[in-house]
Amino acid sequence: MKQHRLKRLYGVLFIVFCSALAFVLVYFAIRDNVNLFYSPSDLFESPPQGRNAIRAGGLVEIGSLRRSKDSLEIEFIITDLKKSIAVNYTGILPDLFKENAGVVATGYFDKNKMSLDAYQILAKHDENYVPKEVKKALEK
């Protein structure tokens, strides 16, 4: 490569390097907030301070879902298969919400009871796509 082009190549690499450095610095500044939610283990390890709303995420524990008979109130347990926290919520649920499926709940955390008073429930679905008929056949 000719001398002047080599020099420009270094210029190009320098731009990419500086930009990468900027992204890394931003990442270090916000690294506690990059994750969308805390897992139950995170919450046990370092319970959030203050009165701000937090998000907790994991799986809805099998057999933990309780629905109220005369209102939209529900209770369930979020687990990451190591630790678990209780969640209560009143309102409409997304289509994919069910036991043993991923969930992200936003709300106020009670450190003493290790429970979350949620005002928003989001369903998290996994990367698996299986035809309905195949799944039925597998379950038989």
């Binding site: 190009v12 990059v34 969308l36 997304p94 289509d95 919400f97 990367e127 299986v130 195949v134």
Partner: protein, 249 residues
């Protein structure tokens, strides 16, 4: 072999050569891209099986995945062009970036929009500030910056230089878009298609998806050539070769 590649590279930089060849390629690529998009859409919307968890709403995958996938590939190719422009001063690279940026922006927008429409019934929200969604929005903003910057310079050369630099600054965001779902807790799920390992989407759903991806890639190839020809005609309209060409027709 190396010499042939080098010759091809030099030819690629030639406006008259590109104009002639692209004129022949465009109808063929256009035909196959439309054909594939029609086939994969019908296959995906009516014939591929219903998903066990999501039901029929998952069918938006046949638009969402091709759009976001091609929007990232376009940006990667634009940053290669940006490097070529800055190092070799190849004018064609400037034409490439200017022509492909609006296409990339359009597909990023389609990806964000289809993702929001998909997210509302399944996740329960249109938008959430998780790492995947936010980094994709950043990608969209880089596209807008590249488009906006084109017209803020008096000379074509300084515009192409500045745009190339901005493109290179944004390329760092692409690995973040790709790996965000693996590195952090996000609402968006990890990738379903894997090139090296086994895909986590059943083959009956995967085949129309791969066809739709191929269709969109060809469509971008098709529109990219069209836009580049238009850009070349506007830049070269006073040149001898272009006048000769238009007087012949």
């Amino acid at each position: 072999m190396f010499q042939a590649l080098k010759n091809f590279y030099h030819k690629l930089g030639s406006f008259p050569w590109f104009y002639k060849i692209s004129g022949k390629v465009i109808p063929i690529v256009g035909f196959f891209s439309i054909l594939l998009i029609v086939i994969s859409s019908i296959w995906g919307l009516f014939f591929s099986p219903t998903d066990a968890v999501q039901g029929d709403v998952y069918r938006i995958i046949y638009f969402h995945v091709p759009a976001v996938s091609v929007s990232q590939v376009i940006y990667y190719s634009m940053s290669v062009a940006a490097g070529v422009f800055l190092i070799w001063r190849m004018k064609m690279a400037g034409v490439y970036i200017k022509s492909l940026a609006p296409i990339g922006a359009a597909f990023t927008f389609i990806g964000l929009l289809s993702g929001a429409i998909w997210g509302q019934p399944t996740w329960g929200t249109w938008w959430v500030w998780d790492a995947r969604l936010t980094s994709t929005l950043v990608l969209f903003l880089f596209y807008l910056a590249i488009i906006g910057m084109q017209s803020t310079f008096a000379s074509r050369k300084s515009a192409d230089t500045a745009v190339s630099i901005i493109t290179l600054v944004g390329v760092v965001n692409l690995p973040i878009v790709k790996k965000s779902v693996d590195w952090w807790n996000t609402l968006h799920q990890p990738a379903s298609i894997s090139i090296s390992g086994e895909s986590s989407i059943s083959s009956e759903m995967l085949i129309p998806l791969l066809l739709s991806i191929l269709g969109i890639y060809l469509f971008v190839f098709f529109t990219g050539l069209l836009f580049m020809r238009a850009e070349i005609s506007s830049r070269e309209q006073n040149k001898e070769w272009f006048k000769k060409l238009s007087s012949n027709n």
